[in-house]
Amino acid sequence: MKLLTTNFIKCSVKACESSNKSFPLKYNNQCQLELNYEEDDEIIQSSYEFLIGILDKIEWDALLKVCQDLGNNDLPPTKPIINEDVANLNDNEKLIIKQLFNLLINTEIVEGSMQCESCEHIYQIKNGIPNLLLPPHLS
């Protein structure tokens, strides 16, 4: 699963819906990551608008927490504000976009697990696909 998707999923248990501890899930620091760093500037350039669209969907605090779980403490404390006019981005903005693109889209969690901090159920990630199914007593 792309690192980005950690920002989309919470615990499946209905009782955890109201708890603010069910999102984001707590990622095991033993999670196995795979990085497909993209150095091709042209591909990244064509993705500027794409990434701005994605940034729109992100809850930054949750992203910070997940990155911390996984051992990355380098993110800025607030969501970067990026000029929507992609033709006139400055170098700093371009660098931020490139780094975010590599982090969100090109970083994969291949194996590992994540836990809901409210009900403490553990979900497995296998071969890059998270399994969010529940045993009968939780469903």
């Binding site: 919470k10 209905k14 199914l133 009968p136």
Partner: protein, 423 residues
């Protein structure tokens, strides 16, 4: 407003009006009948003989937007003349009887350094014209005094003649058109061939056919830089077509059956399709998840929802849970010294579910996640195996039924329901 001619595809008649209306809404396009009537697409379901639709649009960009993503048309043309034969059209142009025609002498013609070609299409006729017969027709347009050089391979301008025959053995066409190509549709650019199921690396028994799957994406208003979700993605057919029809859209998918996503290999085979079509970055996520126990956080806006829920023709409807309520001790069952449900290879218990209940779940979910104007499009069977017709609700919360189109097969049919979220 300039006049345009849409060359329609002669199939899936029920879906043609919804598709054109949806694309017009997507790109905010105003359209009129040449007589000023707004109700222009009304005959598209019933009129199966006439493949031409004449309409007025504000400008060429609108014409491009309306047709470029379309699946049930062939292309759009700027119309310069329509009459019973070419001589009458040429006379009309020379006498400046056409308001919108760029052939008016006051207006500048296409720049002379552009190359051109003429081509002819007949519809409804039994036989086609031979090359010399076609050239004879093209030569009639000499009197328009076009200065452009001819280039048959890669012309800048394509002048198109259409001849519409009423019956296969009519000796002369009912009507002829003289027009200039504005843009071809995705259909004419071979998208159906490219997405053909037998060309994809990974398909399953329930993978949806490309044509109506693409139309479904159009009816759901899949938008660039917006998120589309398929809660019953299976082998990822809808996700693939969605990414293909709008190369800047983002998709996520989930399925109760993780085996469908993985396709028997260790890594996700749905991803192989995305690799094959070079759209990997568009696929944001795939989850093994029960739709009715949804893990997508409720603050995440989903801009469009598309699905073909399992309804028992090939796959039955199942959700998490046990058949006879809660087995008392399942949560304490042990396996190899640990709780069984924590084991790597634990298979969650599933129970049967009804289509009606599932439809309510889909609508409630869509109602809570879609933005205003967002759409959910899903397929249901017309009737179940006992012949009881599927109940279609007109309204649910903030959702209202927009389209209900039927596709018939030999011994069963299914329909596409499209709901839109009102404010």
């Amino acid at each position: 407003m300039p006049t345009y001619l849409i060359h329609l595809a002669q199939c899936n008649y029920d879906f043609r009006r919804p598709e054109l209306e949806s694309l017009a809404e997507l790109y905010n396009i105003n359209y009129l009948k040449p007589n000023g009537d707004k109700n222009i697409f009304e005959n598209l379901e019933t009129d199966q003989l006439n493949p031409y639709l004449i309409l007025e649009l504000e400008n060429e960009q609108d014409a491009i937007n309306l047709i470029k993503r379309s699946i049930l048309t062939m292309g759009i043309y700027e119309l310069y003349g329509r009459n019973i034969d070419y001589d009458s059209i040429i006379n009309q142009i020379n006498n400046q009887e056409f308001d919108s025609s760029p052939f008016k002498k006051s207006k500048k013609m296409e720049p002379e350094n552009m190359t051109m070609k003429f081509q002819l299409h007949t519809s409804g006729a039994r036989s086609k014209y031979t090359m010399p017969e076609q050239i004879e027709k093209f030569n009639k347009f000499e009197s328009l005094n076009l200065k452009n050089k001819i280039n048959l391979k890669k012309p800048d301008i394509i002048y198109q003649l259409f001849e519409n025959f009423e019956t296969p053995d009519a000796s002369s066409p009912l009507e002829v058109f003289f027009a200039r190509l504005v843009t071809l549709s995705l259909r004419s650019q071979n998208i159906l061939e490219n997405l053909r199921l037998n060309k994809r690396p990974y398909i399953g028994t329930t993978t949806f056919e490309p044509e109506l799957s693409l139309v479904t994406c159009n009816l759901a208003l899949v938008r660039p830089y917006k998120l589309t979700y398929d809660p019953f993605c299976g082998t990822g057919g809808f996700l693939t077509t969605c990414a293909a029809i709008e190369p800047a859209s983002m998709v996520i998918g989930s399925d109760l059956d993780g085996r469908m996503i993985r396709g028997g290999s260790s890594k996700s085979r749905v991803r192989l399709n995305f690799k094959h079509y070079k759209q990997e970055e568009q696929l944001l996520g795939l989850f093994t998840m029960d739709f009715t126990h949804n893990s997508l956080r409720s603050s995440l806006t989903i801009d469009a929802i598309i699905c073909d829920p399992p309804y028992g023709i090939r796959e039955g409807i199942k959700v998490l849970g046990c058949k006879n309520g809660q087995p008392e001790k399942s949560q304490f069952a042990m396996k190899d010294g640990q709780l069984a449900y924590l084991a790597d290879d634990y298979v969650a218990a599933k129970k049967q579910y009804s289509l009606d209940a599932l439809m309510v779940d889909i609508l409630e979910f869509a109602d809570s996640r879609l933005p205003v104007g967002g759409r959910v499009a899903f397929w249901v069977p017309l009737a179940n195996s006992k012949g009881i017709e599927t109940l279609v609700v007109e309204e649910k919360g903030g959702l209202i039924l927009k389209y209900n189109c039927v596709q018939s097969f030999n011994n069963w049919s299914r329909k596409l329901l499209v709901y839109v979220k009102r404010n």
